[in-house]
């Protein structure tokens, strides 16, 4: 199985997956502890509209995904602070409209889009060297933002009312957090895919929360879980394709592994709580 590690394409997808694990461990921690999962789901699916637009107009689909993700995040983020009700309806609309736009744009684009499903479910073979560099750059942006504003993000997620009274610009920080979440989703697109990105953003962090007493610890544990599941999922995807001829994209395997880890963690925690 480990012969895969010697193949250049596999090294690239593994590098992208491990780097993406950092982004989703860090941002996933905020998404889970602030309760922004459906909001992030909306952002992720809206990003597909940008992928389609990239195909149609001939610019890199990743740029389109980042742009649409940021726009959707801004729209839903501002709405979430203004609307008295109906936020979940708006999120589902952004979610569906983003997907619909993507499909329409791709249909309008000339030629055949061979790697389209790879944007939806991830792929072993479509990760380029440039994409690895992009994910690394996004990791750096996310890292700098989170290190600089750690105490503010923590305050906004923990107790927004108090943060506001203490003079923290809550709304701007919340929107910035959503923007960073959009970037984290972009890091996940190639490896696990848009449809499954939200799972890798939330499931490892939700597992990490069982065992963490601070946000920083939770980020570390979530990153470790995401990295392990990504590595195992990629290896498994490669192996199943080699030995059985299955063309199973890595995204679903990674998500199922992460969910299994979550289930085991929840059971262990329940037992510990029950005996203590």
């Amino acid at each position: 199985m480990l012969e895969a590690l010697e193949l250049p394409f596999f090294q690239r997808v593994l590098a992208a997956g491990l780097l993406a694990s950092v982004a989703c461990g860090v941002l996933g921690t905020y998404v889970v502890s602030r309760g922004m999962a459906s909001l992030s789901g909306g952002i992720a699916h809206a990003a597909f509209g940008g992928v389609g637009l990239g195909y149609l107009l001939g610019f890199p689909p990743m740029l389109g995904a980042a742009g649409f993700g940021l726009l959707a995040g801004l729209l839903v983020g501002v709405a979430s602070r203004r609307l008295q009700s109906g936020l979940d309806t708006l999120i589902s609309m952004v979610w569906a409209v983003g997907m619909a736009l993507g499909i329409v744009f791709v249909a309008m684009a000339p030629g055949y889009a061979p790697d389209l499903t790879s944007y939806l479910f991830g792929s072993l073979v479509f990760v380029s060297h440039d994409y690895v560099v992009l994910v690394l750059a996004l990791d750096l942006v996310i890292g700098v933002g989170v290190v600089l504003l750690f105490k503010e993000f923590q305050a906004v997620c923990f107790d927004e009312e108090f943060a506001q009274i203490a003079g923290v610009p809550v709304e701007r920080l919340f929107l910035l957090l959503l923007a960073l979440t959009s970037l984290a989703i972009v890091t996940l697109i190639r490896v696990v895919g848009i449809i499954l990105a939200i799972a890798l953003l939330t499931v490892p962090a939700a597992t990490a929360r069982h065992w963490s007493s601070s946000l920083a610890v939770m980020m570390g544990v979530a990153t470790a879980i995401a990295a392990s599941c990504t590595t195992a999922g990629l290896l498994l995807s490669y192996e199943l394709s080699r030995s059985h001829g299955w063309s199973l994209p890595p995204g679903p395997l990674i998500v199922l592994l992460a969910a299994a880890v979550y289930a085991v963690s929840a059971a262990l925690r329940g037992r510990r709580a029950g005996s203590g």
């Binding site: 502890s33 923990f158 107790d159 108090f162 009274i165 203490a166 003079g167 946000l215």
Partner: protein, 254 residues
């Protein structure tokens, strides 16, 4: 004349055309300990949010030590009604108290040893030093309320504002917190809001009754008439550990 800790002049505020506060004037001296009483929906929380600078009045002015609330954040400490946060949130007690230092430290700068000292002192003040490294969710409700008071103390307030601080606590724990507030009131002005008349303790120095407008000048003794005007129905005045207060006779009592 000293600058008042909190001064409201003819303040009116409406939510979507519905008046919540009308022509409320209030003056709180730097050594005052004022309780604002009122039924649910009387505008108590709105009044606090105006004082905290979260809301702006439609008419009238709000001043904290002579300044608009937005510029007076350094003199304010705030204790919410109860923990609004998720009890599963991964955070330790000391880090919650450190949030009281957000305003002093400023955007984008990490907390330093100085902030940690402030937070530790504030925790010691509420007798919670032993639990500094516990997850916040592992605390009892009374302990959590103490942590929230410590967080407000870490703000180094000259005016401490509390919104129904004992609402969710049983009587014994509530009493120990009232005692703590009584001690603190020697060092700072305190404004405390409550809908529970029974919660007004002997430590409070003045009482104002609010129901859209203020009833009775705040310097006045709490009387059955003032309470009746506030609650819109006769109210029984009970003396909670107050040996000097006289209960008004009930009709029909012999």
């Amino acid at each position: 004349m000293t600058t008042p800790a909190l001064e409201l002049r003819d303040v009116s505020f409406a939510y979507r055309e519905i008046p919540v506060l009308e022509n409320v004037s209030l003056r709180v001296e730097p050594d005052d300990y004022l309780a604002i009483l009122g039924p649910n929906g009387s505008g108590k929380t709105t009044l606090l949010r105006l004082a905290l600078g979260v809301l702006r009045p439609d008419r009238g002015s709000v001043r904290i030590f002579g300044e608009p609330p937005a510029r007076a954040r350094g003199s304010l400490g705030y204790v919410p009604q109860r923990a609004r946060f998720d009890l599963d949130f991964p955070i330790r007690v000391l880090d919650v108290v450190l949030m009281g230092r957000l305003g002093a430290r400023g955007l984008g700068r990490p907390f330093g040893p100085d902030d940690r000292d402030h937070a530790r002192r504030a925790l010691a003040r509420v007798e919670m030093s032993d639990l500094a490294h516990r997850p916040i969710g592992a605390l009892s409700e009374g302990q959590r309320q103490r942590v929230l008071i410590a967080r407000a103390l870490a703000q180094e307030p000259r005016l401490l504002i509390l919104d129904e601080p004992m609402a969710s606590l049983d009587e014994r724990i509530g009493r120990s917190l009232w005692e703590l507030l009584g001690e603190l009131s020697r060092e700072m002005a305190i404004v405390c809001v409550s809908h529970d008349i029974g919660a007004i303790s002997r430590y409070v120095r003045r009482v104002a009754c609010l129901n859209r407008t203020l009833h009775g000048h705040p310097s006045q003794e709490l009387s059955a008439e003032v309470l009746e005007a506030t609650y819109g129905c006769p109210v029984e005045l009970l003396a909670h550990g107050h040996p000097h207060r006289v209960l008004p006779p009930h009709e029909g009592d012999s």
